[in-house]
Amino acid sequence: MADNAFVAVNSGAVAVLLQAGLYKFAVPAPLGRALIELAPRMSNVNVNGLARGVAAVEVLTGLALLAPATHVSGASATVVLGVLFAVLGVVGRLRRSAAPCGCLGGAGSRALGLVNVAVGLVLALFGVFAATVPYADTPYRLGPVLAALFLLLLCLWMSRGLALQLLRRKASTAQVGSG
């Protein structure tokens, strides 16, 4: 039972990392702008490339958490990423960052701040715990399915504004078509 719960929580962490990584990989500009806002000197750096690099690390870390052979490495990388998110959140909060960072994808209206601190700390704590769990002894085969389901739910939640907008437009088009 505890093993099942751990696999479910692990899959949840995978979903968060994949959602954040894949979204940033496709749309790196918001994080790039947020970084320049925090440190204007970075305007001379290829921030979009940097954002894509972070995105790639997030995706690889998420995938590493799913396989028993790479689970400990994935957990360690999760700790590092979690601390990085938390630090960026603290800096964003202190500097009263206003640029949406698109950190978790979707909604995109939130700047670097307390949410990043919270998500970062939860990921870091989970990573520390996950590194001590013998993942091969758990029902890890369920991991990819659960991660996929969580990822779909998270994606729909983060993009709910866009999804509702599309549904409303579709409904109004249908009304015009039938009228």
Binding site: L18, L22, F25, V27, A29, S43, A98, L151, C155, L162
Partner: protein
Amino acid sequence: MEIAFGVALLVLAGAVVLLFAMFGELASRVGEPEQGGRWKGTRPLEEARLGAEPSGWPAALSAVGAAPEGLLLVLSPSCGSCQEVAKQLMTEGGPGRARPFALEVSCNGIEAGRGFIEQYSLEQYPHFLDDAGEWVRTELDVQSSPVGLFFADGRLVAAHVFGDVNALSALADSVFAEAQPQRQEVR
């Protein structure tokens, strides 16, 4: 088998995330509908190097760079929207006298730029003919037009694609009001 199914599902879920990300990006770029066959809105220019301070200013644009608040319009002779904006500048005037403003014409050859300025009687405004858009591209990563660039003390604080000079003027007040606290912190 169980793992293969899970991985396939995960790949599909990942594709959905990418699809939503790109759809969201597309939706944010579409902007407001056209009015009278012409787009009159503004939208942020994603790729502009916000926070950048050009290493050097062409003489014609130096007033924009030296002012606490300055506006630079990037136009190009080959873009249809720029011609509409140029007509508007000719008939309705520039975006107000509250702050310095100048034109940067990204042109394919200086002659083409000069022809554009003469065609729309834009000589009255400070302007810089930027061959191949070299200056604005290397200094600020701007490769689109028409674009309004907002500078505070010589630093790029916002960049917006626009279809109407009045819409850009209306935006200027809020852009500079937002930039004010950051400038005070920098000082």
